[in-house]
Subunit: 206 residues, 2 copies
Amino acid sequence: MVKQERAARTRETLIRSAAEVFDREGFSASSLSQISSLAGVSNGALHFHFENKAALADAVEAEALDRLRVVTGVGPPVGAGRVQFLVDATQGLAGALRRDVVLRAGFALSGGPVRPVRTGLREHWRSWVEEAVERAEEEGELRPEAAAQDVVTAVVAATVGFEVLGVRDAQWLSAAAVGRFWRLLLPTLVPEDALHGVRVEEARPS
Amino acid sequence: MVKQERAARTRETLIRSAAEVFDREGFSASSLSQISSLAGVSNGALHFHFENKAALADAVEAEALDRLRVVTGVGPPVGAGRVQFLVDATQGLAGALRRDVVLRAGFALSGGPVRPVRTGLREHWRSWVEEAVERAEEEGELRPEAAAQDVVTAVVAATVGFEVLGVRDAQWLSAAAVGRFWRLLLPTLVPEDALHGVRVEEARPS
């Protein structure tokens, strides 16, 4: 039992170390010995858990998907609307990408043409945005002129842009940057009398 | 002279072949022999022009920057406003990314954490957007409520999102997708009476 726990902990440490090295060096420049050395384990221990670098990258992506599900799994805020929920989730994602190297490395791995599509982190995010916008529309929160498909396109494109630009400059993942996008977009999204009810900069506590 | 011309042509062919292989396989999975074979030259000829894969990637990025400068170097349309110019340029960039594998591969190479920043393709694009938005503001085309910084953030984030999402699904680089973004954004950008004067879907001829 104790042995199993230790093995699980070593595996977690390796995944986190791999994420840190991938985040800093990029996948192709990262070496297994950098990862095992950062994790404080032997190369043999690394190979016991992961066959090669691609297997480690798969594990980082899978773990990142679990963490993205935490961000998107929070229910809508009590007493607030669906648009607020959507804004909060984009701020929640930006905040999580800022703080969490596993999520950040997972997105970077899954996004580029470097590796085959596996986990579909961005696909998960897009589906979530689609559903959130549909709900907002159903609840009558959107202006009639705001076509749901336009909103999904703009929100998904912009959030992927923040994520990618944030790899090199964390300012793009700040609450201020994401808030600027929403401040501009909201007036076309919701009727004027609902505008002041939506907070754009505060991320929900996470 | 003839020999120099042939060498220049071979170099160009190698850059284009490298872009195609990087675009399809990703940088780290691409091999020099795939590139020389696609270019129809020997490995020796490849090494005469490029020391290694990184040197080829640098050349692809440099060539992509030249091509981006063509997109951003077109002057504002005669008789149309600065906002139209901005919309046209985003459609021009999306169209160029759709058609031009060198530009697409250059952006992918310069964007990820895989390689060090060199050419700054995205930096060039961001500076261009900043200047275009400033001009639109100076010309009085923007609504007073639309803060220039908000507009730059939204346009840069969304266009980088289109570029990155377009690597795996070219639909994101379609005139329709980019047009959906603008259709949503324009009402907060320009006064109502100017709205119908802006075309969102047609790319300028290029």
